[in-house]
């Protein structure tokens, strides 16, 4: 707490150097007058900063929009007592792991495929990326129709080969995985693009070296492409894992957390509290989600980032 702590630093050593560094960087940063940052800062503070801080207060109130009453930690107790919360946490994790895992595997394979010499390469790249451009809600509705048990295209196609397809979204055992697979279909384009960029940035010399050593396609993939596209893998995992943890729109349009509570995620549980008009409670849920996502992603980021630094 006391300022004297900084005392020993005044002696000779590296500190003054660092300070010089810092001032040099500071001068660089002020190439633009700070006033130019002001509009963006105001917008950020007003529509992000202020509500975020307010959320931490309203999470502690019973809030009906008409009035709010301070209730301490009651909302957090109620949220943790939510009967489907355990299912929600499990589902959220399963969903995040399944979708990010599949996106890494499929994204890498597609990335390799689409950087090889292929006829129609440009066209195929567009095809893979196309689902990313479609609105998630539209994808949800489309696949809901495709996955219908009696009239849906998927089950009709399965019937042609003699398979009696299940009620994909109406059956408790298949609902969450069906949504996860649609999520992968929609999101694998981004992963592929990241991998394409990553693979293209690998210097050709490595491949030539493998060729000189007599390695085949598998060696090229296993010992050059895979390790050297690690930065891409890192980005894909982080992006899709955070996306998976916050997953809501697709699940909501396709199953609404159903049947029953079997495909509920934390986000859909929170949304249901909001729908029911329990605004304080749902804000408390969001605060919890914020903490959980931070608690998972910060260590993951640190771990993956460390690996990236020492490839």
């Amino acid at each position: 707490m006391t300022r004297q702590d900084a005392g020993p630093r005044t002696g000779p050593g590296r500190a003054p150097e660092r300070r010089r560094d810092r001032t040099a960087r500071g001068r660089q940063r002020s190439a633009y007058p700070y006033a130019l940052y002001l509009p963006a800062a105001v917008v950020y503070v007003v529509i992000f900063g202020v509500p975020t801080v307010m959320a931490f207060y309203f999470a502690l109130t019973r809030w009906t929009l008409f009035d709010s009453e301070f209730v301490g930690l009651q909302n957090f107790r109620d949220f943790f007592a939510e009967q489907n919360l355990r299912i929600g946490f499990t589902n959220t994790l399963v969903y995040a792991v399944v979708t990010s895992g599949l996106k890494v595997v499929l994204g890498l394979l597609l990335g390799v495929l689409l950087t090889s010499r292929l006829r129609l390469r440009g066209f195929l790249r567009s095809v893979v990326f196309f689902p990313v451009l479609v609105s998630t809600v539209a994808v949800g509705f489309t696949f809901t129709a495709l996955l219908r048990p009696d009239t849906g295209l998927v089950n009709r196609a399965l019937a042609l080969v003699g398979v009696d397809g299940p009620d994909w979204l109406g059956d408790a055992t298949t609902a969450l995985l069906s949504v996860a697979i649609v999520d992968v279909w929609k999101g694998v384009g981004i992963a592929t693009v990241i991998y394409i960029a990553g693979i293209l940035s690998i210097p050709q010399e490595y491949y030539q070296a493998v060729a000189v050593d007599g390695g085949g396609a598998w060696h090229r993939f296993r010992h050059v492409t895979m390790p050297l596209s690690w930065p891409a893998t890192y980005s894909v995992i982080i992006l899709s894992f955070i996306g998976g943890l916050r997953s809501f729109d697709l699940i909501w349009t396709m199953t609404r957390g159903g049947p029953g509570f079997t495909s509920d995620t934390i986000a859909s549980i929170i949304y249901k509290q909001y729908q029911a008009g329990f605004f304080g409670l749902s804000t408390a849920g969001n605060v919890i989600l914020f903490v959980v996502v931070t608690a998972i992603v910060v260590p993951l980021n640190w771990f993956l980032g460390r690996r990236q630094a020492t490839p």
């Binding site: 019973r62 008409f66 009967q83 029953g260 079997t262 008009g277």
Partner: protein, 430 residues
Amino acid sequence: MKTSHRMLAAALAVALTSCGSGSEPAADDGTTTLSFLVDNSPASLDTAKALTDAFMQANPNITIETETRPGGSEGDNIVKTRLSTGDMSDVFWYNSGSLLQALNPAQTLVDLTGDPVLANVQEDFLNVVSQGGKAYGVPAGSAMGGGILYNRKVYERLGLQTPKTWAEFMANNDKIKAAGITPVIATFRETWTSQLFVLGDFYNVQAAAPTFAQDYTANKAKFATTPAARGGFEHLAEVHAKGHLNEGFGSATVDQGMKLLVEGKGAHYPMLSAQLPPMVSETPQAATDIGFFGIPGNDPAKHGATIWEPGALYIPKNTENLETAKKFLAFVATPAAADAITKAVQPAGPYRIKDATLPDDAIQAAKDLQTYIDDGATAPALEFLSPVKGPSLEQITVAVGSGLTPPAEGAAQYDQDVEKQARQLGLAGW
């Protein structure tokens, strides 16, 4: 051009103040414009159109502009938000009963107690639009029955009688299944439809435990520990366990369910009778072939039906056209308005306006419901007697009705859900 200028100015004003009143000021030429917010279901839209057309014809200097909002809990939040920001339309249509209580009416709505506007409204109805002894709304449209819609052609062909007890109902289901017809239709894709076996069973609950509603509101009676109240959950589970549901019930929608019923591919559909009138124009047999009976209980002597009261029109405190709005509400509460509605939408049950009667060509389900009312064998659904209603009931009933949760556990889960809601509402005794 003049109007569009005015609209532009109004739009600008709204944009600038960011919380416009939602009502336009009276124009120079003596006409008043009233804004009117309704939900976007076809039945509501048709009813609203019939009411506003008839009213504007009688009052040429008043224009009513109808706005729409989504239904369900999304719509609830729109109504709450607009009320709390003072941005509500001059008149709006909203549920009566427990949902109204959540709007904080004393603070947000115009009190109509003792106003001549309510002169034609049936006394019973006033209970469901009141809070703290003050009444706030006039009934819009007709009441409806919540019970079993059944295909009378199927009953005729198989020589069945409408059941008075649950055992008879299940016996009918066995015969229907043997004839290759789906006995009970379930449409769990739209989760609210799964609640009917529980909510529509309230007549039987009240018959067995007459003080259940009060005790339940006061946190003294529970679904899990009251055998009659648990019955709804048990019925739901039994129908699934016996394999009486249609294939793909987990992802079927209401439209698909109604179609199965009207086409005679399914015999019973636990549903609200209000689903029928919109079907009549495309499938006229929906009016004649589909009947209604209350969910059967255990005692044949005490058979009856559960009724859902119609929603109501309310005036928010922020309106600038109070007199005109009252004039509109007074018109809605007349037999003439009921006739205007009947011409546009077949009533799904009786009106709640004095001297307004069902037409002779009313749909069969409405006539069946009227018989229950004439016999005095009806009870309002629990949500009209108690502000307590847990938001997760529909997920719990889907889980019970799909065999994922045992009925006793489902009832206990619902009690827990209700407790949370009561605490969030700040009710006394929870």
